[in-house]
């Protein structure tokens, strides 16, 4: 019952908000924060009351806050929810991130009531997906989360947001159809003909038919790989992130991506153990490729948000690598368990750190309307708090010991090197590339002479990109120039760096790179969504003098707790590992059947 309250509370508040059209912006903002805070408090209460067990516990036993209500008895689908060591950390992460986003959005002026309602709705869908113990219920929540995020991007995004939203929606929706196909396969293949996840995991269907089993895993695997996203299904991610509002990006990266990886541990691995064992090496390879691909492509980005989006591909690669290792039954079970624990910690860690990073890029957007590296520099001087928070988030994200990401990646590596040495050694190099790209980003944004972007007051660009490729960027490829003087200053800094023979990021800057086709800067400053009905700045007004106000109170209050929690997990991870480890051991045991 408590779990049901946790899951449904946000959507109930959303409904109430929608029914009260006269509510002031402040009242909306505070009731949103209050709802999210109460939800988080309830989750903490659940955490305190949760007994993680010892040894192996989770997935098929040791489920807490279990509730089951008949729903569609003809196919044995039920409203069945519960938590174990796999879902509880993610439920906690979800509640925390949604609270952070609620605080972040305190000053949202654009249709605040709907904004809050959409996010509250989204919160219920995410919590519901993690809590669901029935495939149909899981699928319903999973799909509704896509719908919710579509509205966030299309309604409150910027740049090419409507096309990015459509791309996100169609891509992930097609993925979820593959998932549904797989679920139906599980239903038909089981002896019991049920959609109940606990029973399906306890008696895996299709055990005697490697072909069918493999096909069902393929369908589920593709569905989840799109959502996660894994190479090569990742290209919806940078577009969606770049054009989403900061709050939406934080949720998209922090929570929605985890729905995919969570599906692997909760559904694919325990319910199709034979197929997972057989195809574990594929997961390992996809993981390693995602790690390196995400890192290298991120290194080449010229847009801060796109860069962070690609590092998500890298980080999710570690997760699937760890989960793939769990299926390598020839290896030591202890090593496989460690890799699985690492993968599960990585989900939480990535949510905290990348959530914080996306909120920080939102600061860039709110101050200057661009994420383009070439238009920012020396921000540490006007905004020391922003610089400090960004530096901390960046070092966390590159896996520095002392942060949660180290706990995750170290365990993934340690387990992988025993089970799949070559994959392990290759994957380790990923942390060097991420270190490089993050430090480069810090160097460009924070150091050197100050360069402040001004919110663009130029003529409105047409953001209807339907004339170009279907989902690609528009044909408008000319990068918009920063104010000439400021740009020259930045160039000088680049050359300075090169003269010192150090990290020459000058080579990656303007012009040197054939990037025209991908330049989002050209359209970042497009017309406000016409649905927003905001007034556009007349082209004649002179731009305001550049300024970069440091982090405001609500920005600090939303970002800093995420970073602090990452450090707490990084230095004293036992409270989290005690919850995760028994469930990870259970997954490994179930996969080994």
């Amino acid at each position: 019952m408590l779990l049901t309250v946790v899951v449904l509370l946000p959507v109930v508040v959303a409904a109430v908000l929608m029914m009260l059209p006269r509510l002031s912006q402040r009242a909306v903002a505070w009731s949103w924060v209050a709802a999210a805070a109460v939800d988080l408090a309830l989750v903490i209460w659940m955490w305190i009351g949760f007994d993680p067990g010892r040894g192996t516990s989770g997935v098929v036993d040791g489920l807490a806050y279990d509730t089951k209500v008949r729903w569609i008895p003809t196919v044995d689908a039920a409203y069945h929810v519960g938590v174990d060591g796999l879902s509880l950390p993610l439920i906690a992460l979800t509640s925390l991130l949604f609270l952070a986003v609620a605080i972040w959005s305190q000053r949202e002026q654009d249709r605040p009531r709907r904004f809050a309602a959409v996010f509250l709705f989204l919160q219920t869908t995410c919590l519901g997906t993690f809590a669901a113990l029935d495939l149909i219920l899981f699928f319903v929540f999973f799909d509704l989360s896509i719908v919710g995020m579509y509205f966030v991007i299309a309604g409150w995004g910027h740049g090419n947001n409507r096309r990015s939203a459509l791309k996100f929606f169609l891509y992930t929706f097609v993925g979820s159809l593959a998932l549904l196909l797989g679920f139906i396969g599980l239903f038909l293949g089981g002896e019991e003909r049920t959609f109940d996840m606990v029973r399906l995991a306890a008696r895996p269907p299709l055990d005697d038919s490697p072909l069918l089993c493999g096909l069902v895993l393929l369908a589920i695997g593709i569905g989840l790989a799109v959502k996660t996203p894994l190479f090569p299904f990742h290209t919806w991610l940078p577009d969606a992130h770049t054009d989403a509002p900061a709050a939406g990006s934080a949720i998209l990266a922090g929570v929605l991506l985890k729905l995919g990886t969570y599906g692997f541990v909760r559904i694919a691995m325990p319910m199709l153990p034979a197929a997972w064992q057989r195809w574990a090496m594929v997961a390992v390879v996809v993981g390693v490729v995602s790690v390196l691909w995400g890192a290298f492509v991120a290194l080449a980005q010229r847009d801060a948000k796109r860069m962070i989006a690609y590092t998500s591909v890298n980080h999710m690669g570690y997760v699937i690598l760890g989960l793939g290792v769990a299926g390598l039954v020839g290896a030591d079970p202890e090593a496989r368990t460690i890799a699985t624990v690492g993968a599960l910690v990585q989900m939480v860690s990535h949510g905290l750190l990348t959530g914080a990073l996306f909120l920080l890029t939102g600061v860039l957007w709110s101050r200057g309307g661009t994420y383009d590296f070439s238009r920012w520099g020396g921000l540490a001087r006007p905004a020391p708090l922003f610089a400090a928070a960004l530096a901390v988030a960046v070092f966390g994200s590159l896996g520095l010991p002392g942060f949660s990401s180290f706990i995750a990646e170290f365990q993934v590596f340690t387990g992988t090197i025993q089970a799949a040495p070559v994959a392990g050694v290759i994957a380790v190099t990923g942390i060097l590339v991420t270190a490089g790209l993050f430090l480069l980003a810090v160097q460009r944004l924070l150091t050197g002479p100050p360069l402040l972007a001004v919110p663009d007051a130029g003529p409105v660009t047409d953001d209807d990109g339907s004339t170009g490729s279907e989902f690609g960027v528009t044909a408008d490829t000319a990068p918009r120039r920063a104010p000439a003087a400021a740009h020259a200053g930045h160039g000088a800094m680049d050359h300075g760096a090169m003269d010192h023979g150090a990290m020459d990021h000058g080579a990656m800057d303007h012009g040197a790179m054939d990037h025209g086709a991908m330049d989002h800067g050209a359209m970042d400053h497009g017309a406000p969504d016409d649905a927003d009905a905001q007034t556009t700045t007349p082209t004649t007004t002179t731009p305001p003098p550049p300024s970069f106000p440091d982090l405001r109170m609500h920005e600090i209050a939303s970002i800093v707790p995420l970073l602090v929690l990452s450090v707490v997990i990084g230095l004293a991870p036992v409270f989290l590992l005690d919850v995760i480890a028994p469930a990870a051991a259970a997954v490994v045991e179930l996969v080994s059947r």
Partner: protein, 641 residues
Amino acid sequence: MSPASGPATLAALVLVPAVVGVVLLVTGRRADRLAGPLAVATALATLTLAAGVAVWRPQAQAPFLPGVTGGELALAVDGLSAVLVVTVAAVAAAVVVFATADLPRTDARARFFGYLLLFTAAMLATVTATTIPALLLSWEIMGATSYALIGFQWATPGKAAAGTTAFLTTRLGDLGLYIAAGASFAGTGSLELSGLATADGGWRDVAAAGVLVAALGKSAQLPFSAWLSAAMQGPSAVSALLHSATMVAAGGYLLLRVQPLLEATGWAATTAAWAGALTALVLGLVAAAQVDLKQLLAASTGAQIGFVVLGAGVGSVAGGTAQWVAHAAVKAALFVVAGVWLTALGTKKLTGLRGAARRNRGIGAAATVAALALAGVPPLSLWVTKDWAMAGTGSTALRLVALSAAALSAVYAGRVLAVVLAPLPTDEARAAGRVPPVTTTVAWTLTLAAAGLAVLGLPAVAGRFAGVVAGGAQEAPGLGELAASGVIAVVVLAVVLVRPQLLAPLRRTPLLSWAGLPLLLTPRPWLAVARAADAVDARVIDRGVDGAAASVVRLARAVRRTDETVIDGAVDAVATATARSADVLWRIDGAVVDAAVHRLARSLRRLGGVMRRPQTGQLHQYYAQTLSGLGLLLALLLLVR
């Protein structure tokens, strides 16, 4: 305090500087004025704690990764750690004191001292860690804080980039430690450092390779040396700490620590020995060619640590440790002096430092003694310790390389002395060098340590020292060897001092730009890979998705066309045909059926007309008709019968 509080003391040794450092960082500029005194107090407290743990040799641990044996954060102090802990704490305290005087008042002092203390704490944890997670944690935090310290003046172009280079290069080495951790777990089932040497078969080699790469990266040995050059961008105090008892020295320590592992594999020990000796040689040449004092000292750091690495490779753990400690004192003293000159004279170019030692006699004398020690002149410390470190060298080639490298240290130290001891240009005022007394004190403390540590070479002391750090007697250099190396050092030094122009040609060689080593660290190939991957991502994978979506749209159009032409056409055709056939039927209806009905009616009507004719109304005609009918019937009856 009693030994029972040992674990707490050990924890405090790391936590006190770490926590104070973090507090300073979090407080930020508000704490700038307080930062210096607080840092000095903390550093002195840390030194006291270090002395305590050196005596009590405690162990301490905290849970970290409960699922793994050896996954906890465990620290312990053995003989080797005891010596290093005290050295690190002492040098750190000296540098902190120096920094309070040297760092401009207007700088972000809280940030500086915060990172400096955190950096020290990380080094202290590094030299006491007994598990790989503890080592890796402190090892990488040390790297990250070095990034922050080198890039301290981030607003100046190139400083942050130098920090990035340092961090990335050392992290490249750190990957080896991650791999070694995996190999340790696979080969021993635990993450304890002491177990590495006992790992099974191939895993032991993997672990050794990983540790070796990590140590070479951190210690700027070949081929990773060039990051040291970039690291000179940091403030003088940072260089003084980073190049003496921390960071660069950490790699040397790690190899001394895992010497049993290196020895167990065989090849790793040989590799380490050669890497150390060749680094000492190559960086010695590089140092001899430099025109910038800090760059010269940086190269000499790599070269001198090379002897520590050589010592670890050939099994001279005691000698390597002695070299480590003595070098820390010498190099800290020299960097403090270089910092003083940089602040006073505004230059670190050797040409600008002519006669620098004569401006302020106190500092000048300290600099002279420290440089003589660096040169390996008897009876100063590095003379003994360098020979001790290479005492176990078996191969002649290796010994020759090491001896040449030792002679080179007299060359580069001589270059410094030749410049700074040169007579002052007469037109300049001699009083130009006012130095804060506290700085002079620090310089002299370090210099006296640099000179005095030569006692480690006395047989009685050496034996005990070896017992402490290596657990037993170790091969010591013979008197003949010591005498020979002392003579070589003095002769070489004399030649350089008398004819310094002999070295001028070196400056026209690639040695000036670090023998091309920076090229090895260029990010260009990686950026090229990144760009290529990005292009593929955008032009192949994303295009593929777009193409798939586009083909769906195209398919939809085709379906629409089909719909319009075929299906809808068929419906139309059916409708038309139905109408037409209805028309036909209607016509058939009119022309055939209806006409037939009409015709029938007409015939019937006509028949009716015919039938009406006999109805005349006259009775006789009816009778006649009846009679004729009856007659017909009768005739018919007769005929039929």
